[in-house]
């Protein structure tokens, strides 16, 4: 299989913040590469001057009345956090100590 493609797939796993085990690295990477080869059938199409469809609906952004409404409360928003207190989500340090 195309080594450059496999490298690209490994890089995508990095960007997606997925650490693959050795076994996964072998099967997942080659399966993704296979899909990438399959979807190249789109190369048969003449897509020159065709505008893309990223969404089937084209609509003006709907606006609601400028009135204060109750959204999610803070306790509700925080209650599923794996680590947090009454006001914040708590996460491990962002900067390393050295």
């Amino acid at each position: 299989m195309d080594e450059q493609l496999l490298d690209g797939v490994r890089q995508a796993a990095e960007l997606a913040k997925l650490d693959l085990t050795e076994a996964e690295s072998e099967s997942l990477v080659s399966q993704v590469a296979m899909m990438l080869s399959y979807v190249r059938i789109l190369d048969d199409l003449d897509l020159e001057n065709i505008e893309g469809t990223s969404h089937v609906r084209t609509f003006a952004q709907p606006l609601r009345d400028d009135k204060v409404v109750q959204g999610m409360t803070k306790p509700d928003g925080l209650r599923n956090s794996p680590a947090g207190d009454e006001d914040f989500f708590i996460v491990p340090g962002i900067m390393s100590e050295d």
Binding site: G8, V9, Q11, A12, A13, L15, A16, K17, L18, D19, L20, E24, S27, L28, V29, Q31, V32, M34, M35, L36, Y38, V39, R40, I41, L42, D43, L45, L47, I50, E51, G52, T53, S54, H55, V56, R57, F59, Q61, P62, R64, M72, D76, G77, R79, N80, S81, P82, A83, F89, V91, P92, G93, I94, M95, S96
Partner: protein
Amino acid sequence: MDAIGRLLDLRELTVIVDEQGNVTFSDLPADIREVARSISGVAMNDILTMGAGQLRDAVRNRELSPVEVTTAFLERVEAVEPQVHAFLHVDPELAFDQARKTEADVMAGRGGVLAGVPVAVKDIFDTRDMPTTAGSRVLEGFRPPFDATVVARLRKAGAIVLGKTNMDEFAMGSTGEHSAYGPTRNPWDTTMSPGGSSSGSAAALAALQAPLALGTDTGGSIRQPAALCGVVGMKPTYGRVSRYGLIAFASSLDQAGPMARRVEDAALLLQVIAGRDPLDSTSLDVPVPDYASQVNAGVSGLRVGLVRDFVEQDGVEPDIRKRVLETADVLKEKGALVRDVRLPHAGYCIAAYYIIATAEASSNLARYDGVRYGLRREVPQGGLDAMYRATRSEGFGGEVKRRVILGTFVLSEGYSEAYYQRATRARTLIRRDFERVFRDVDVLLMPTSPVAAVGIGERAADPLSEYLLDEFTVCLNLAGLPGISVPVGLDHAGHPVGVQIAGPPLSEVDLFRAAKAVEDEFSFYTEFPDL
């Protein structure tokens, strides 16, 4: 009566689901269990096989109480779950709470459109009082602080939410096997997959565990399992039903829809869940027709296009081809005008779909990082980034990882033009194919799935072979169009076969009419699997 009185007051009821998916109601006292059974065998079976509309009418007329109905279905769930594993969470306590509330409403003359009708809800919908996992370890223990709009509408209509149904993780899969909590089995043949990703919802209906179910459909996840389980499933027009509280897979394709054993029940359920929602800016601000009253309008004069590209394709099983052609004849006999149509770009749907769906998924699933909800894995001496990686790597299953990686790749610098941008242009051509055929016909007829049954584990080694199960359903999602799968009988091996009817935007009434005409001919809802 004493025991029924106590049943009404029951507060401390818990359900235990063991590793094999066996369900027991631990604290259900023996005498209450006895009363539940004494709702005689015949009557119990009648309740289980009644349509949702019939149940609602019986409840409104006070022939059945919501508590009786709920008891009958919970007993059925308990009896067949070891074989089917359609549910991830069953909640008798909440179900009885809602049943009692509905009973009070009915007594006060305020029975809603679904008064006393149990509904099985796919675990992708947020439910305020119940765990919601989307079939993933990464959401284990998550209890949403709100109800999805569709769930809120169900409750308001008097429906009884029985529990949450099993599914492929984040709706990514076509067999139900990608659930982190074990596969659901097809009630018609428990060695077979029920299809997916709404595997539990479809199986629960076929196994008579519920008369109605909610599903979601990003590339066929309502219609394909409906076909494989011999039930009715509709993906409405994109925007017809609110997506608020629906855990996102691919936002430009996801749509919630009704599943039922009968067409008119699916129409009734859509009636309740459809409509504009201020909480979903993509929901359509278009009045909701009275679907249920129009299902019997017949097909006289309806112009039906038979999609030759799909019917004649090599991968379609002969029994399925035969059934679709028979259905075309039935519609013709009933007064429809049937002609052949072509969709020249149909062969590109799977490729375009898997690029677009995975691209959107890679972005939507970035939120699972261990910070705000669900699983968190920290790494000793590791920082924030290490936590993200450990959480995602442990929390996601193989299929989700495959798709997130694929989606990240097709959006990444240097590749997005060749992959993602090309796919969106192909999507435009696919849309135009439909716009063209709908100038000449009102609805399209085609197979729902190329095969009637898939063995559990059969396609696990080759993802593309699983993806191809969706080749007749994904095109509608790409174009935002509605489609319905309706069962037409069994194949030579005893597995259900469904046909798919599709239409232009907001043609749900026509789809229900055509599906009901097909159902009237084959009456598949009178057949049940042996469990």
